[in-house]
Structure formats: C-alpha cells, structure tokens
C-alpha cells in the first residue's frame, strides 16, 4: 500500500505522498472502505496536496470513494487540491459532485468535527 493511513480519534487520514498509479488509487479506495468499518470511523480525510495531476480516472475514483464511504456511514473530506489542479479539473468538467472539500488538513479536521457532530449530514 503506497498511501499511509493514520487513525486519529474517530477519523482516518490518508496522506498521498507522491503521484499514484491507477492501481494505487483503487487500493487506497479499497483499504479505506474496509477500515471505515473495522475502525468505527466517522470521518475520512484524504490529503491530495502532493497530486500535481487529477485526471478523469483519479477524479472519478475519489468521487466514488467518497460516495461509498458515505454509504458506509462516514464523511469524507478531500483536502489540498492545488489551484492549478482545480482549474484543470473544472475545465475538464471534473467537479467532484457531492464531495466535501477543504483547503488543508487543519480546515478539513475542523469541517469533519462540525459535520460529524450529529446534525451535520449531507444526503448526496
């Protein structure tokens, strides 16, 4: 597994360190989905600061991952999408619909704290 996943309180934090292959991404997805169940996780944060490209495959995988995790009862926040990457994604129509985003780990944690405090759930 190329992406380290830390457990911090009720949260899982995956910090992508380097460019990922498609298989790495799918593995990350699988591992996170499993661990959400095993670890009674309420929130998942994925730090993509290190990704200098988010193409259609990566966007779709992250979006699907967030949706699967929601179905498993936890929130996902994607943090650290770089400005150039965000521009490119929007040009491509890769909008991560229904996925929560935050600037960085700190903002992401604050957001997860809010959203996992009971009444803060998005349906889609």
């Amino acid at each position: 597994m190329r992406v380290p996943i830390l457990k911090q309180g009720n949260y899982l934090i995956a910090s992508i360190q380097d460019a990922l292959t498609d298989t790495d991404l799918l593995q990350l997805q699988e591992e996170l989905v499993q661990r959400v169940g095993a670890a009674r996780t309420r929130g998942v944060m994925i730090d993509v600061t290190a990704l200098d490209v988010m193409d259609s495959f990566a966007s779709r995988t992250l979006r699907d991952l967030a949706h699967v995790i929601r179905l498993r009862g936890a929130e996902t926040v994607i943090v650290g999408i770089q400005p150039e990457v965000a521009f490119t994604m929007v040009q491509l129509g890769l909008l991560l619909e229904g996925v929560t985003t935050a600037l960085d780990l700190e903002e992401g944690l604050a957001l997860l704290d809010q959203r996992t405090k009971g009444d803060a759930r998005c349906d889609r």
Binding site: T23, F57, E84, L94
Partner: protein
C-alpha cells in the same frame, strides 16, 4: 533545439512517467504552471487510453513551432490497438465504451491548442496534440 522523448506505454506506471516527462518539457519551454498542468493532464488521459484500449503503445514528446513561430510542445500518442470506429462519437463528452467518464478525449482537446486523431479499425490510433506559448 530539438528535443524528442519517447515514453513506451506498457504498464500503468508509464502513464505517470509520460505525464511527468511532459510536464518537465513544458516547464523547460516556459509554460505557466496552469498550462503545465493542462499538458500533463492531457497526456495522462491519452496514455491511459493506450493502456485500457490498446494495451501498449508509445508517447513521443517534442518541441515545435506554431503560426508566427511561437514555440510549443508536440505530443504524439500512438498505438497499434483496435482503433476507433467513430472518432466524432469518441470525442463527445460522456461517450465511453468502458463505462468510464468519457471525458478523456474531449478534455484533452480542451487542454491543448491543436488536437488531431487518426485512427483505423484494426490498425491503431495516433493522436497528435500541440500547445503553443501565448
């Protein structure tokens, strides 16, 4: 200056290599960081298509000159895979024979200044993409 880099595309990891090489060349040519990202992303899309649809092929990166001798990057993605029966259809947003997003080819086109597909069923596909410095 004539630079030409050939990146064989056989394994998934080659997708990453190709886009990193493309970004490096774009950076050398003085493209902005947004443009570098556009170029790297376009390469990623066509490289993945080689793996998914043709299994193997290659990406050739070089420099070129546009109208008014603007310098730029030229990317050729070639494979000897099954080819694309209807290129206009494949270029449509959302069209995919693999149940994926179908945004790769139209997206790559949007990232670049010039985009051309030559494809013959049973023979293979060659995509040529160019971007000039503004």
């Amino acid at each position: 200056m004539t630079v030409e880099t050939r990146v064989p595309i056989k394994h998934e990891a080659d997708i990453v290599t190709a886009r990193q090489q493309g970004r490096a060349l774009a950076s050398q040519l003085g493209f902005s960081s947004v443009e570098q990202t556009f170029i790297a992303t376009a390469i990623s899309e066509v490289a993945r298509n080689i793996i998914v649809y043709a299994r193997s092929g290659e990406i050739i990166l070089s420099t070129g000159q546009g109208n008014g001798s603007k310098p730029g990057i030229v990317i050729v993605a070639r494979d000897e895979g099954p080819g694309i029966p209807d290129v206009a259809l494949a270029m449509q947003n959302g069209y995919s024979t693999a149940n994926s997003l179908g945004l790769g080819l139209p997206g790559a086109k949007r990232m670049m200044d010039e985009f051309e597909i030559v494809s013959e069923v049973g023979k293979g596909t060659t995509i040529t993409m160019k971007k000039w410095k503004q």
